[in-house]
Symmetry: C2
Subunit: 226 residues, 2 copies
Amino acid sequence: MPDSPPPPSGPYAPLPNSASHAPPPYVRRLSLYLRMLEQLTDKGVSTISSKQLGDHLGLTDGQVRKDFAHFGQFGHPGVGYRPPELMRQIRHILGIDRPWNVILIGAGNLGRALASHKGFAGRNMHLRAVLDSDASRLDEEISGLKIESIDRLQDVVAQTQAQLAIIAVPAIAAQGVCDAVVRSGIKAILNFAPRLLTVPCEVSVSNVDLAQYLEQLAFQLHLGEK
Amino acid sequence: MPDSPPPPSGPYAPLPNSASHAPPPYVRRLSLYLRMLEQLTDKGVSTISSKQLGDHLGLTDGQVRKDFAHFGQFGHPGVGYRPPELMRQIRHILGIDRPWNVILIGAGNLGRALASHKGFAGRNMHLRAVLDSDASRLDEEISGLKIESIDRLQDVVAQTQAQLAIIAVPAIAAQGVCDAVVRSGIKAILNFAPRLLTVPCEVSVSNVDLAQYLEQLAFQLHLGEK
DNA sequence: ACGTGTGAAGTCGTTCACAGCG
DNA sequence: CGCTGTGAACGACTTCACACGT
């Protein structure tokens, strides 16, 4: 099932100034709260206290309140927080109350898995194109999108108005692809290649390194053993 | 190409006591240093200063030295650090100088992509089994491993001596699978399902939520705009 | 001279405890 | 009375600056 029609980019509602200098941990936890609120809403919860929310996530009630209070007043004294309202606020702060256009580079195993991932749309993330360097894969279809040549990157970015790129190519190719993506004007990259990318400081990169997660877990086990 | 023969579990070299109460940020950065050192080694670098290493990773030289110093004395005054030596030390601290056995649950698109991911072996992470609940997928082969029924979880964990589990099942099934994994005695879980898992406190969980990464990047863009 | 290891100072984030509102 | 919002106290991580080793 293809995405909804491509959204125009343009002016959107502004953010409370507080968001500009929000501590990174606060912003990271907003995503966490949002996910948990979605799950609680599925269960039919209509009101939730900072204590309850915190218990589910391993945080103290005070911390939950501090996090929200930094961005505004979203709660109701004596009552708690109302999930629909709170979720709307969080989505607004994170900037996902408006659509974002995403392109995917790399149509290997991982790329295909990412392309077919449900759940991007629910966060207003819309996959607009899939690119690959392997000529034998061109014109194949992945979740409704024809695979395009990596050489067409500039055109594709212009046509799709993409703001985010996902890199899912082999490690050896990652930096080259990254450089091309940066040249295309994209300012945010999600990198799945097991390689640390070098980018100009105005570009945001998030590295998802699978081995790294296992490593960190191994360390935990390692400690717990003695 | 299948993994090397299953390693025995048993006693391994101990960790400096300092590692037990290491600040979590220090431990996370060890993985980062390791990845960067691998890349630098590929380029033939034989010695590196805290300044150079920090510049590559966006950290100050002081911080790099503090991080390493917490775990021991790995540097050479007037010279810098020697990558092979330093990497050996980091691998030891993280506990990846010994093999770990991993099982994968979920043989969908993402599961297959993860199973075929090169680069686990280089971190001493060895995939020993793939399980799925879909009967139609049983006995299929994924990177040399026959898919087993999820019902055989307990047996598989016992036979493979698995210490880590990767969950790559649909969101709706994730908590159920997680509970079964916990019952099997596994103490570390890497979760790719877009769902926050509830586990007993002695179990470590790491959630890799794809939408969450895009969200955080969207926030960065959102800010940079105005 | 160059670069590490390290206490001391500073900054940032978390916890606490309570005032105030529903 | 329950629960939020918030300043003040606390603790944790980072930065700084310098002594020491090569």
